[in-house]
């Protein structure tokens, strides 16, 4: 575990250095922030105001010193501390990711386990088809169809926004579909392997009931590969769900990152990457802990 923490720390440092220089390579924010017909005097003034006139290495040194004091500077576009902007957005993404992953995990494990119990049965075939469609349908398309059907035609849920619980239904549903299809297939496969193993046969021979076989004997052993996939999916969501955030007007960190890259709002890009990288690092730690809980042999 310690080794993992140390290596993650070095990755984080490498990320800061890389992102700093790569973002600078994209060009000058003055050209985007100021109007297209800004005078040279205005451009110079803007660069001076935001410290962009200094040599790159000097800008980097200043940046590192600031970051060490947890100061990420101000957002050029929003005229507020970059870290505040990022944390606000990240809170939205975190909520969206947690709700979705919790639902996906609960449903995919339950349905996948039941489907794996009778492979090739009607329920299994139906579930496999649905999960395949879910894993391959584009988010954008599902979102727009969802709005047309459930918001405009039926009027059941709002088209977009964040005001009430109802506002969360469509975005969570859209975000749910792909990981649900994927995780369900992994659960099904993993459970089918487990059902065929010697210890399940023994348990059956001893007359243990189906429910007990699934939830007591098999599930724990079949969960290791499933946790890996859940971890990957959760990491992707913590990075922001750009399409869903854009369409449903969710002020999440994914959209913020894309907007900041397009607008060259360097301080926000760097703060957003630091925050999401840290969140993914914490989540990986949690997965490691879950692994060791499920499989005591990994506790070394």
């Amino acid at each position: 575990m310690m080794r993992r923490i140390v290596s993650s720390f070095f990755s984080l440092v490498a990320l800061v250095v890389m992102v700093f220089f790569l973002s600078r390579l994209t060009g000058d924010p003055a050209a985007l922030f100021l109007p297209i017909d800004a005078t040279q005097e205005m451009l110079d003034q803007f660069r001076e105001l935001h410290g962009l006139n200094d040599p790159l290495i000097q800008q980097f040194g200043r940046y590192v010193l600031d970051v060490l004091q947890l100061d990420f500077g101000d957002s050029i576009r929003k005229a507020r501390p970059a870290i505040d902007v990022v944390l606000e957005s990240f809170t939205w993404t975190l909520q969206l990711a947690l709700i979705t992953i919790a639902l996906v995990t609960a449903l995919a494990i339950t349905i996948g386990s039941v489907a794996a119990f009778r492979p090739g049965g009607l329920f299994d075939r139906f579930v496999s088809l649905v999960s395949l469609i879910g894993a391959s349908a584009p988010d954008f398309w599902i979102a727009i169809v969802g709005i047309v059907v459930f918001s405009i035609t039926l009027g059941w849920v709002p088209t977009s926004g964040t005001g009430t619980v109802w506002h969360w239904i469509l975005p969570v549903a859209v975000l749910f579909i792909r990981p649900f299809g994927l995780i369900l297939q992994v659960v099904r496969g993993s459970m089918m392997t487990a059902f065929g193993s010697a210890y399940v046969k023994t348990a059956r021979a001893k007359g243990v009931g189906n429910r007990s076989i699934i939830f007591v004997h098999t599930l724990r052993n079949a969960m290791l590969p499933v946790i890996t996939v859940i971890g990957d999916q959760a990491a992707a969501m913590l990075n922001g769900a750009v399409v869903v955030e854009t369409i449903f007007g969710f002020p999440g960190v994914g959209k913020l990152m894309i907007d900041s890259i397009l607008q060259r709002d360097f301080n926000v890009i760097l703060a957003a990457i630091m925050v999401t990288a840290l969140a993914i690092f914490v989540m990986n730690l949690l997965i490691d802990i879950a692994y060791t809980l499920l499989d005591p042999r990994l506790r070394t």
Partner: protein
């Protein structure tokens, strides 16, 4: 049966909940295309900031009426006159109060101008003043003198761009805009919405709309869907594809002119016959109602027809491929390298169908004998080709761009686009420079006549560029409100103009 009842019950609950996100009677919701990062009054010339702030929260000394063609109208200034050459005297309204309760006076005007022009803040407004320096002198509480160096005959018009803030406003960008307008900002949920609420102590008559909430959705289909579902009342920008409901959708001139800037210093574009051939090669009518909306108008100037000095006598070059071929042949015979490949430089996402429009134009150019290549860039890369200093060792370029001028006077366009020192000029012509300088300094009827002359000269004699279309935008308006989008909607959305049916 039980299941059916449950489903029915759920649906009814959902429908009841749906009314919770419908609008209160006199409250409206406006859905904008991108999140507003700032609501700083001195940034109000930026479209979406302007739509929220301009004349709603922050007012200006004067106001340009493009809706009813009343021209320049009083707002915080009741009247004005040129007191001495270069100095304009503004007589201010006595009964206006800021939303923080303080009274409006000449000191606020002085501070607002100095703040907007300060080099300690990157405001938008100074761009419209070019190199003009302003000096403001308080004569008394209700009178202010503004001196422009060099003298600025349209200073009262320029004052439509300077929003007035209280003298106590710090130089840094403020996130709590205080103005004299009929509304005040009462809630700002970062990334989600901004709410303006009607003031009881506004100096003018009380508008009908009591509260306006601005929300941000990047996807045009969602913006259109929000109005259709009754969640929003106005979507100032939707795509042509989504504008499919005659009852709710309006097209309006959006003050943008689409054109191709030609670099006259590089062969073969330095030859007038080649520039004429480019103009004659385009079947402009073929674009309208197909790749571009029906309301697009063929352009003869870089400014839209609502602008002072717009010249109705200037005619669009006729579509004449044979004539274009003939001109090219003549130029070639004189040694002009007409076969040099010309790059058409476009900007991705500039407007819907921009790539298709440029591809069609490319096809038409090639049909008369030009060799062209199309290069699409994102905004920052595009800007390198569009503004000076232009890249060294560049070849002949047609830079396809949109130019926005809803300000009513060509001065905001002509220097930048056509003066030898203009940052986006493709020409260097002393006669044009002189004409721009004269028109800029002129007033009254002479000013209109001077611009008219310049527009004709650029189009007919210089053949400065390939002018294409005055563009239109689409807006969706909920039938429960009475509001018709106009060219002004491109930069502001006065809530006081909205009635509830």
């Amino acid at each position: 049966m039980k299941g059916k009842r449950l489903l029915l019950g759920l649906m009814m609950t959902a429908s009841a909940a749906a009314s919770a996100w419908a609008q209160e009677a006199k409250d409206i919701t406006v859905v904008l295309d991108e999140e507003v990062d700032l609501v700083e009054p001195c940034m109000a010339t930026r479209s979406n900031i302007g739509r929220i702030i301009l004349q709603n929260v922050s007012e200006t000394l004067t106001e340009l009426d493009v809706r009813n063609n009343k021209g320049l109208m009083p707002r915080l200034a009741e009247s004005w006159e040129e007191a001495s050459p270069g100095t304009w005297r503004f007589h201010l309204r006595k009964d206006a109060k800021f939303s923080d309760g303080s009274s409006f006076d000449a000191g606020d005007v002085k501070h607002s101008i100095e703040r907007a022009m300060s080099d300690k803040i990157s405001c938008e407004s100074p761009r419209y003043f070019g190199d003009t320096k302003l000096e403001t002198k308080v004569v008394d509480d209700n009178t202010v003198d503004i001196t422009a160096t060099p003298a600025q005959p349209i200073l009262p018009l320029l004052m439509t761009l300077v929003t007035i803030v209280p003298a106590e406003t710090p130089i840094e960008f403020t996130r709590e805009p205080v103005g004299t307008g009929p509304y005040k900002l009462t809630e700002w949920k970062a990334g989600q919405s901004i709410t303006l609420t009607r003031r009881d102590d506004y100096w003018g008559s009380a508008p009908e709309v009591t509260k306006a909430t601005y929300v941000f959705r990047a996807d045009p289909s969602v913006r259109a869907a929000m109005v259709a579902a009754g969640e929003a009342d106005i979507a100032p920008l939707i795509s042509e594809l989504d504008a499919n409901d005659a009852e709710m959708d309006f097209s309006y001139p959006n003050s943008e002119t689409f054109y191709m800037r030609l670099d006259h210093s590089i062969p073969p574009l330095n030859d007038k016959r080649v520039r004429q051939a480019l103009n004659m090669a385009l079947d402009r009518d073929a674009f309208i109602g197909t790749l571009l909306p029906k309301g697009a108008i063929k352009a003869t100037a870089i400014v839209p027809p609502t602008t002072l000095g717009w010249n109705p006598d200037v005619k669009v070059a006729p579509y004449d491929p044979e004539g274009a071929k003939k001109l090219l042949a003549e130029a070639k015979a004189d040694g002009v390298p007409v076969e040099t490949p010309i790059a058409i430089v476009g900007r991705t996402n500039n407007f819907p169908n921009v790539v298709e429009v440029l591809e069609a134009a490319q096809q038409m150019f090639e049909e008369v004998g030009f060799k062209t290549k199309l290069q699409m860039y994102e905004v920052a890369e595009f800007e390198k080709q569009y503004s000076k200093p232009y890249p060294e060792n560049r070849g002949p370029l047609l830079v396809a761009a949109q130019h926005d001028n809803a300000r009513g006077d060509p001065v905001f366009s002509m220097y930048f686009k056509y003066d030898s020192n203009g940052r986006q000029s493709g020409i260097a012509n002393p006669d044009v420079d002189k004409m721009i300088a004269e028109a800029t300094a002129a007033t009254g009827e002479k000013r209109a006549a001077d611009w008219k002359k310049l527009i004709a000269y650029l189009h007919d004699d210089v053949v400065a560029d390939v002018l294409l279309f005055h563009m239109v935008g689409y807006a969706r308006v909920n039938p429960r409100i009475d509001f018709t989008p106009t060219i002004a909607t491109n930069s502001q959305l006065q809530l006081s103009e909205i009635r509830i049916k």
